[in-house]
């Protein structure tokens, strides 16, 4: 197994863990962390799989950089929203009832 594939396999594990976290965890902060784990998994796979030719392929590196920027932005937004929700309601989870208006 080449080093690239090791990265990719680790990425797959991270991605699955993150996904499970999103589905199973209620606490907003941990859920946001789970997203970051999931994202890192995807980036690892992207970089890992693209190393077939031996040397590093610059294109996925550039992609991952862009992806990290996007991930940072979304994390910031998610954190801001979670804080706002906490300030307004004191809750750190999404309850089933607030999908109904009023």
């Amino acid at each position: 197994m080449s080093s690239g594939l090791v990265f990719a396999a680790a990425g797959a594990v991270l991605f699955a863990m993150g996904l499970a976290g999103i589905v199973l965890i209620g606490h907003l902060l941990r859920r946001i962390l789970a997203f970051n784990v999931m994202g890192s998994g995807a980036f690892l796979i992207l970089v890992g799989l693209a190393q077939r030719a031996g040397g590093a392929d610059p294109v996925p590196q550039a992609m991952v950089l862009t992806g990290i920027v996007v991930a940072v932005a979304s994390t910031a937004l998610a954190l801001a929203l979670a804080r706002r929700l906490h300030r307004l309601t004191g809750r750190t989870t999404l309850s089933a009832t607030d999908s109904d208006p009023e």
Binding site: A42, L49, M63, L88, S99, P101
Partner: protein, 476 residues
């Protein structure tokens, strides 16, 4: 200098930034002015594509793989036209709306600008990774808009929406990673001849992951859970933008990919997508029939109408009927749903209540708005003469041509269900007003923009020849 392709992305970014600096008052004027130009640009692009076919535009002259390519063909020209045509009246509407509802206005114009830039870029993106980036841009701006009101309910809805959107785009990104691993490219043009039915398992998995991610973002049944609170809870102009446009963006992506790169794989998922569409129609309509709130009713109706878009997939064939049906439905629903949310906003403003019961007697007070709601309803029900009717006609024709009877029943039944929930509102409005009801005056510009959008969705049913010709240009 005036290649509309680049300016359609640049211009909204400029006015979004401008609106942030200038503040809501002057920002709104700037936005409306710029949107007029965008409409002209989209029209110019549509005319050019119709005349000369699709084209590619390397941004900054760099070219793929390190630079970014933008590509415009018939399908993207149609969607761009729809986006600008929706955004302009909604901007006029929003300006009057936020004059009445002050707190949310600060972030509306910048976020709307970024949203539109993202959407335009998405319709023009030529490779899988740029599609991911634009998809995220759209998602983040949309989440911001949902939360802009700042109440606990809106923030919760926004978070729910954000999680769905992020999960969706990460699934999509994972798919992109697998595709790059398999073929070493993400350009749609280069990929198209490489992918075939004997593709390695990784590619099939990638296709599945991307599809799942996009379905989550399109809110097709059973991934629709985040949509009604987000769309039903947001301020009316935001709901209109989201329901009419944003969910169409990820649908456009599914359609584009299954027409093009993943065409050999798409057949495998087509029936499942169709069945989910059918389930969405039934479930969305059923919920719309049960809810007591006007905007929730309209939001559930979006869930149902998205189902029609997914009925297209099992019927995709070289005869192009289903593609035409999908394009027509996307446009007709976009216009009608924008009109309906706009009208719902007016109704809520006029009655001061957000429930169906509170609507008694509005037929006499805001007749123009009710008329707009009714016209939009005609499109959603698929009754003639309207764009929705043509879409339904094309769908039924496609289903009958391929001998797939089940879809005919779904389309017809869905239309009747839509009639049932639309007339819930109209019935209530025609009732006599209770003696103690008070009506607030509503700005005329809000009433008229709702009406213009609704009338457009109906008039579309009188002439679809050019649109269909444009749709057939260079797509697939």
């Amino acid at each position: 200098m005036t290649d509309p392709v680049a300016w359609l992305i640049l211009l909204p970014l400029v006015w979004a930034t401008g609106a942030f600096v200038l503040g809501p008052g002057r920002g709104a004027r700037l936005a409306i002015g710029a949107l007029l130009v965008q409409c002209a640009l989209a029209l110019q692009l549509a005319v050019e594509v119709l005349a000369y076919g699709g084209r590619t535009h390397p941004v900054g002259g760099w070219g793929a793989p390190l630079g970014i390519d933008l590509a415009a063909d018939g399908l993207s020209a149609v969607m761009l036209l729809l986006a600008q045509a929706l955004a302009l009246p909604l901007a006029v509407y929003a300006r009057a709306y936020f004059a009445e509802n002050a707190p949310t206005v600060r972030y509306f114009w910048p976020l709307a600008g970024f949203l539109l830039a993202g959407i335009n870029a998405l319709f023009l993106a030529a490779d899988l990774f740029n599609l991911y980036v634009t998809l995220e841009l759209v998602g983040l701006a949309a989440v911001g808009l949902v939360a802009a009101g700042g109440t606990a309910r809106q923030v919760a809805a926004a978070l729910r929406y954000l999680f769905a959107a992020l999960a969706g785009s990460l699934l999509y990104l994972l798919g992109v990673a697998l595709i790059y691993g398999a073929y070493g490219t993400v350009s749609l043009e280069t990929l198209a001849p490489l992918v075939d039915a004997r593709a390695p398992a990784a590619v099939w998995i990638a296709g599945g992951l991307m599809l799942a991610g996009l379905m989550l973002k399109t809110a097709i049944f059973p991934f629709h859970y985040w949509l009604p609170p987000a769309h039903g809870g947001a301020p009316a102009p935001v709901s209109a933008l989201l329901s009419a446009l944003v969910v169409k963006a990820s649908f456009y992506l599914i359609l584009r990919l299954s027409l093009d790169v993943f065409a050999p794989l798409a057949a495998a998922a087509a029936t499942v997508l169709g069945l989910l569409g059918a389930a969405a129609i039934v479930w969305g309509s059923w919920q719309a029939l049960r809810t007591d709130h006007i905007k929730m009713l309209v939001a559930w109706s979006t869930v149902a109408q998205l189902g029609y878009l997914f009925l297209v997939f099992p019927l995709l064939a070289p005869d192009g009927l289903a593609l035409q049906a999908g394009g027509m439905q996307a446009i007709a629903h976009g216009l009608a749903k924008a009109a309906m949310f706009a009208a719902a906003g007016v109704l809520m403003l006029a009655t001061g209540r957000d429930t169906l019961v509170g609507l008694a007697g509005v037929a006499g007070r805001v007749p123009l708005t009710l008329f707009a709601f009714g016209l939009a309803g005609v499109t959603l029900m698929g009754l003639p003469p309207s764009g929705g009717f043509l879409a339904k006609w094309l769908l039924i024709e496609a289903a009958l041509t391929h001998g797939q009877w089940g879809w005919v029943a779904v389309v017809i039944g869905g239309g009747l269900l839509a009639a049932a929930y639309v007339f819930r509102v109209l019935r209530q409005a025609f009732l006599l007003a209770p003696a103690d009801s008070r009506f607030h005056p509503v700005p005329r510009s809000m009433e008229w923009t709702a009406f213009v959008l609704a009338a457009a969705s109906v008039l579309l049913g009188l002439r679809g020849v050019e649109l269909m010709a444009l749709l057939a240009r260079g797509a697939a």
